[in-house]
């Protein structure tokens, strides 16, 4: 509730939105601030997968052909 009041105080009339959309925005912002996010970020295992994919399918083919064709 305190957070909602602080959001209203800080943003009312400053969003360039209609009052209806502005009100909707405040409700959403309050929920995001309470939770710290809407969905969880990627887990660590996925980051390892991303790094591996980046290296194996992104960088390695480039290096392979650099050695072969340069």
């Amino acid at each position: 509730m305190e957070s909602m009041m602080s959001i209203r105080e800080e943003l009312t009339g400053k969003t360039e939105m209609s009052p209806d959309n502005e009100n909707d925005l405040f409700i959403r912002l309050e929920e995001i601030e309470r939770e710290g996010k809407i969905v969880d970020p990627l887990p660590k295992a996925d980051w390892i997968g991303i790094a591996a994919t980046f290296l194996v399918l992104g960088i390695l083919p480039l290096l392979y052909y650099a050695i072969k064709l340069f």
Binding site: L11, K14, M17, R28, I38, P43, G58
Partner: protein, 468 residues
């Protein structure tokens, strides 16, 4: 104000709100289908045809996977992951590093790239119509006059579809994805049956340079551009995904692997016919009736894709204050007038379409790298969401007069860095290009410069809300 106009304005405002978890539609599988349908489209044929100018079939596939993989991973980190976490699209999130007014300037730059794509797709439809007329009448309609004339008619039709609103666009898009997949399957079947992939793999590139490494690098560079071209779209889609995982991995499946299938097919057809223009393949490969049907289907797909681009970019342009109060007709006209003018040079733009990929690298690569550094390194994956929506100078994301001078400097200075390696319009390269691709060099330059200058300027002067 008419009801339609009010709806558009309401949609623009509503579109800016963060999308909460309960309102999100796409799980992993849903988004995989959507992004694959989006990725495997006519531009794959165009890109594949262009790659075939420089490399053979095998290298086209490898360059496409490698280039797209690097750009799509960077792109997904810069827009998809933050957008999924906080529910805002890529343009809204760019306020955190460009500033409120910086983002509006960026919207205009983005429109320039999209206008380029619209001209290319209108010309592709125009050339398809000419191929059909040539085949049916036995006369030659291939002169520049007819290309321009049909291109203008197509552009007017796309504008008409856009003015009819999102409902008509949704109807057209729901038809296009399955139709285009059918065209791809038919092409794969015919090429496999009549020629065979072994023979395609033996065919040399159409107009390569003498240096094989250089040819591969250019194919790789163009693939990076193809990947970065997705920047305006994927942030908006990621905010509808239920998890970060669903927002990230389908991009790899669709925009890298599925797109490479379309690109490979485009390269194969170009090598087979000896022409990089997709409009000229269908009738020779598929035969008269089937070829005409394929050209008609591809044209419908192009009109639909164009209408979506005009609609979404015009919606974005509505965020600019001067256009927000204007009628929808006027806003779309702001987009369409440069398109109509550009269509008078349609053949020139279409035949050098790869410069749009270079332009995409020049614009979206610096933006992506700044976004990654800003969100992951400087802000520790946390945003003060209020600052996006406070449109007054009180907002911490207002920086200086609505612009972040660090981002502006890095963005502008990235252009000469790119040109130091490669001219994206003429594809003239320097000796340095053989040692580092232009986009690779720009990516490294932007990452280092943005990090150092942000620490030196924004952190020191307590601008941009970094102190939190």
């Amino acid at each position: 104000m008419s009801k339609h106009e009010a709806n558009i304005n309401s949609e623009v405002q509503f579109d800016l709100l963060p999308i909460m978890k309960k309102d999100r539609e796409y799980g992993f599988r849903d988004y995989s289908f959507v992004i694959t349908g989006f990725a495997v489209a006519t531009w794959c044929f165009l890109i594949g045809g262009t790659l075939a100018l420089f490399v053979d079939f095998k290298l086209a596939i490898i360059a496409s996977i490698s280039g797209n993989m690097i750009s799509i991973i960077l792109l997904s980190m810069s827009t998809s992951l933050p957008s999924a976490k906080y529910g805002v699209d890529g343009f809204t999130s760019s306020i955190s590093y460009l500033g409120h007014n910086g983002t509006k300037s960026y919207l205009v730059l983005n429109a320039v790239v999209t206008v380029g794509w619209t001209i290319v797709l209108c010309t592709l439809v125009s050339r398809s119509v000419i191929q059909i007329l040539n085949h049916l009448t036995g006369k030659d309609f291939s002169s520049n006059l007819y290309v321009v004339l049909f291109g203008l008619i197509v552009a007017f039709f796309c504008w008409f579809v856009t003015l009819r609103g999102p409902h008509m666009i949704k109807i057209m898009s729901s038809i296009v994805v399955p139709v285009f997949l059918v065209v791809i399957v038919v092409l794969i079947f015919i090429i496999s049956k009549n020629v065979g992939w072994g023979e395609i793999a033996q065919m040399p590139a159409l107009e390569p340079f003498d240096d094989p490494w250089l040819n591969f690098l250019i194919a790789f560079e163009l693939s990076l551009g193809a990947g970065f071209s997705w920047w305006p779209n994927i942030g908006g889609l990621a905010r509808i995904c239920k998890t970060s995982r669903a927002a990230f991995w389908p991009n790899i499946l669709g925009l890298v692997f599925a797109a490479t299938v379309g690109t490979g097919l485009g390269a194969a057809a170009a090598l087979l016919i000896g022409d990089s223009d997709p409009a000229s393949w269908m009738i020779p490969i598929c035969g008269g009736a089937l070829g005409i049907l394929a050209l008609i289907l591809v044209s419908i797909a192009n009109i639909s894709a164009n209408s979506i681009m005009i609609y979404t970019t015009s919606l974005g342009l509505k965020q600019i204050k001067a256009l927000f109060r204007q009628r929808w007709f006027i806003v779309t006209a702001v987009y369409m007038i440069p398109t109509f003018i550009g269509l008078f040079w349609s053949n020139l733009i279409y035949d050098h379409f790869y410069f749009i990929l270079g332009l995409a690298c020049l614009i979206y690569c610096p933006i992506s790298m700044m976004a990654v550094v800003d969100f992951f390194l400087l802000r520790n994956q946390k945003w003060d969401m209020r600052q996006f929506y406070n449109k007054t100078p009180e907002s911490k994301f207002y920086f200086w007069k609505g612009f972040n001078p660090v981002a502006v400097f890095v963005f502008i200075s990235a252009t000469p860095v790119y040109y130091f390696f490669l001219d994206p319009i003429s594809l003239e390269y320097t000796a340095a290009f053989r040692y580092a691709t232009a986009t690779g060099a720009v990516a490294v330059y932007c990452t280092i410069m943005y990090y150092i200058l942000s620490k030196m300027v924004c952190f020191k002067m307590k601008k941009g809300g970094y102190e939190q």
